[in-house]
């Protein structure tokens, strides 16, 4: 996608998940980060994974309520370049009308709503890893989801 329609939008997340971003995102610790324990490179990757889990599990989206915070700026969604397309397609599918492509704010609301309902599922997987690493435990769970 030549342009990122989400560039002016915010990735908004419930404040309840703020600490989890610190736990599972590498970028915060730079070179000291351990991918096996922090499987996501950036905040938007963690957020996008939550959307994917929610979509895969067929959960009805619901926008964040209560206190929220800006976990990332929409410009961060510009890479990888297929990601704005994926989010746009999600909005089209959800809305049933392709004209939504002209309303980035609404598309972003849909994405944030999916992420909001996806986080509890994603975190349930991550927080039940026991002695396993976050990377292995989540990968196995995803593998199970995809082969279901």
């Amino acid at each position: 996608m030549a342009e990122n329609p989400f560039a002016g939008q915010d990735v908004t997340v419930s404040d309840n998940y703020r600490t989890h971003f610190e736990t599972y995102v590498q970028r915060r610790e730079g070179k000291g980060a351990r991918p096996e324990h922090q499987p996501f490179d950036r905040n938007v990757d963690f957020w996008f994974a939550a959307i994917c889990v929610a979509v895969r599990n067929g959960i009805k989206p619901s926008p964040p309520t209560g206190k929220t915070y800006k976990a990332a700026e929409g410009v961060a969604l510009g890479s990888p370049e297929w990601r704005p397309t994926a989010l746009t397609l999600l909005a089209i599918a959800e809305n049933g009308d392709a004209s939504i492509v002209d309303r980035p704010g609404e598309m972003m609301r849909i994405a944030n709503a999916y992420a909001h309902v996806g986080f509890p599922e994603l975190l349930e997987i991550l927080e039940s890893r026991g002695g396993d690493t976050a990377l292995d435990h989540l990968s196995e769970a995803i593998e199970a989801m995809l082969t279901k």
Binding site: F40, D41, C52, V55, W82, A98, D102, S139, E143
Partner: protein, 693 residues
């Protein structure tokens, strides 16, 4: 000599302590049962003091009881009854030795001693007691006949030279070799005297010169022989030190060179760091799959398809692709329109048409933005909606790579840990210092061997010169009338000297060989060595008085290192018993705690062999040593008593002995029974006693 009974008063823990020793030839063993700290070693010392005098105890040894207050005087008395076999039959003696000492005094006073022969007609006092005692039981034999399990080990432990010296001394003393050596010196002196007389009588200068040369040679030969013996002893010690240093070096080399191991460790650590980096990359590769396009395709597949359908419908309606503007813009690049009319900007109609197309483009632009975006999405969505979903394959590949790298990392970690462990065991410069030490000993050994060779050559030359001078002297004497008598005397003295010298050599070799063979028999019997299967095949005493042991394939073993504790003790006891048997000296073997570190078969066999190899055996045993040998002691013990230290109540003794004096109590309990005095708590009882208290 056979001990009959002994009584000690005021000798440390022994006060009013009476012991009867078995003189029954079939049951020749006396067992003194006593736990640790109950007077066994005191009794061994007391017997030696009584029989051998003050020299038998260290000068700082105090005999009086610990209960005597500082500054007060205490008296120690020992009374021993014994018998000796003489050509005229058995004679019985009573020995009394005593001293009075002040508690806290720095030196022990000399003892006084009295000896009397016990006769049916009354006792006869014996004058010159020490001389008599020396005849009945020579002081030189004390350390062979009176010993303990630990001290006996000195025959095979410690410096090699010292071991040899102790073994040689024990053999020489017991075989009466010092007497022969004294006889030899005597004959040599007689030779010198005869030569001096002959020299005086003849007045010949030539004879006088030869005599002077012989005198000088007679001084030089023993001097060089002594130097050679000392050098040989040093060589033995250095050989021992060299062997140990070499073994240390071999051990150090087995552990490895510190620098080499440190280098290996550094290399492994580098590989490990590289492996860790690769593993991190592999982790990263797998983590990226959780943000990748195939992950999105797999997870959002349904929604992506749904969106695709919406876009497909638009395409079918012709709204996608949105190509109006691009077609018009594209046409402006041409000279004519698709209808065939000119679009040449230089032509008036052409310019007009171009302006019209530009106007159409501007009008379409605003309304086509939406369609344009949808068109873009339509084309871009193909990447997400078409094609095979490859997440699983990528996951398997990434996971395998990670696992492989993890295994490599862990293997390198194990190697590093092993190297670190080896490194921690090696002291700095371990190999280097061990090699330096070994080389130093080798250098000293080489130097000493060269010295020994020189001395050996010197001694041979001196002996040859002596023979030539002696012959020359005989010839010179034979020429003179007055000298013939001296020549005959000298010849006789020379013959006598040769006989004594040859006897000494024979005794030293033949008797040592006899002790060696007998020791081997007793030792193998004690340890139950099977000649075909055993790890230890035989023991021997070398001509230079080393006690050695051979393993399988005639492999030489170092008794102090290659034998276990029980076998070491068995070997030394076998040596002592063999020595006393071969010597023919009849005297009691008194051994304190001989069975320490022994269990089972070896312990039982040592008791059996010792009982059958000794004329009278007095064993000072702990209850633990007796344990397992009760049935053997039933058969061989003619006398058994128990010594008990009352200070052991209530922790170790079961009953209150009714006294807190520092003296042992003696009861008639044998090796299996106990009474109110000697009954001891079982290991669990002290707690109960404490609870009751």
């Amino acid at each position: 000599m056979r001990l009959i009974k002994a009584r000690f008063d005021g000798f440390r823990l022994l006060d009013g302590a009476e012991f009867n020793f078995s003189v029954d030839k079939k049951k020749n063993v006396t067992v003194i049962r006593a736990a640790n700290e109950s007077g066994k070693t005191t009794l061994l010392s007391a017997l030696q003091w009584a029989l051998f005098g003050d020299e038998a105890l260290p000068s700082t040894y105090t005999t009086i009881s610990m209960d005597i207050p500082e500054g007060m005087v205490g008296t120690t008395t020992a009374e021993v009854t014994y018998e000796v076999e003489t050509p005229k039959g058995t004679r019985r003696y009573r020995l009394v030795r005593s001293l009075s000492d002040r508690a806290g005094s720095s030196s022990r006073p000399k003892s006084s001693v009295a000896l009397e022969e016990i006769k049916p007609t009354g006792n006869d006092s014996v004058p010159n007691v020490e001389s008599y005692l020396g005849q009945h039981m020579p002081a030189d034999l004390r350390e062979v006949f009176f010993t303990d399990g630990d001290r006996a080990l000195s025959f095979i432990e410690g410096r090699r030279g010292d071991q040899q010296k102790r073994v040689r001394r024990a053999i020489e003393q017991l075989m009466g070799l010092p007497l022969l050596e004294a006889a030899l010196e005597h004959v040599k002196k007689a030779e010198r005297d005869i030569r001096a007389k002959a020299d005086n009588v003849s007045g010949s200068q030539q004879l006088s010169d030869v005599r002077a040369q012989l005198e000088a040679l007679d001084l030089a030969i023993p001097d060089n022989e002594a130097k050679l013996a000392a050098t040989t002893e040093e060589i033995a010690n250095l050989s021992d030190l060299y062997s140990r240093a070499d073994r240390t070096l071999q051990d150090a080399l087995k552990k490895g060179n510190r620098e080499e191991i440190a280098g290996d460790l550094q290399r492994i650590e580098k590989q490990r760091a590289a492996s860790e980096a690769r593993k991190r990359t592999a982790d990263l590769d797998q983590s990226r799959l959780l943000s990748g396009i195939d992950f999105a395709k797999g997870m959002m597949g349904e929604k992506l398809k749904a969106a695709g359908k919406v876009l497909d419908q638009l395409r079918k309606k012709g709204q996608i692709p949105n190509s109006t503007i691009p077609v018009l813009e594209e046409r402006l690049t041409h000279a004519d329109c698709i209808c065939g009319e000119s679009l040449d900007p230089n032509d008036r109609d052409g310019a007009r048409r171009r302006a019209h197309i530009l106007h159409l483009i501007e009008d379409s632009r605003a309304t086509d933005v939406l369609k344009s975006r949808i068109s873009t999405i339509y084309y871009e969505s193909r990447e997400l909606t078409n094609g095979k979903m490859a997440w699983h394959d990528q996951y398997v590949k990434a996971y395998s790579a990670r696992t492989r790298e993890q295994e490599t990392y862990e293997e390198l970690g194990r190697q590093a840990a092993e190297l670190e462990a080896r490194l921690s065991k090696i002291k700095d410069n371990d190999v280097q210092s061990a090699r330096e030490m070994r080389d130093t000993y080798l250098q000293q050994l080489t130097s000493k061997r060269e010295q020994a060779t020189r001395l050996d050559v010197t001694v041979r030359n001196l002996r040859q010169q002596r023979g030539e001078r002696a012959k020359e002297m005989e010839t010179l004497l034979a020429r003179e009338t007055k000298g013939r008598k001296f020549a005959a005397e000298l010849s006789a003295a020379g013959d006598l000297r040769k006989i004594v010298e040859q006897t000494l050599v024979t005794m030293k070799t033949r008797e040592v060989d006899a002790v060696s063979r007998h020791m081997n028999e007793l030792f193998l019997q004690m340890i139950g060595a099977d000649p075909d299967r055993a790890m230890i095949r035989r023991a021997a005493i070398t001509t230079d008085f080393n006690i050695i042991v051979y393993g399988r394939n005639e492999r030489l073993l170092d008794p102090s290192q290659d034998l276990n504790g029980a076998s070491r003790r068995a070997l030394t006891i076998a040596f002592i018993l063999a020595l006393t048997q071969v010597s023919g000296v009849e005297a009691p073997n008194v051994i304190d705690t001989p069975l320490g570190m022994m269990t089972g078969f070896v312990k039982r066999e040592v008791v059996k062999v010792a009982a059958s190899s000794s004329s009278q055996l007095i064993l000072l045993l702990t209850p633990d040593e007796i344990n397992g040998c009760e049935d053997i002691l039933d058969q061989v013990a003619g006398e058994v008593v128990t010594m008990t230290n009352p200070a052991h109540y209530p922790v170790m003794l079961k009953h209150d002995p009714g006294t807190s004096d520092a003296r042992v109590l003696i009861c008639k309990c044998d090796h299996v029974s106990s009474c109110e005095i000697c009954e001891r708590n079982t290991p669990s009882t002290p707690k109960q006693v404490g609870e009751a208290a």
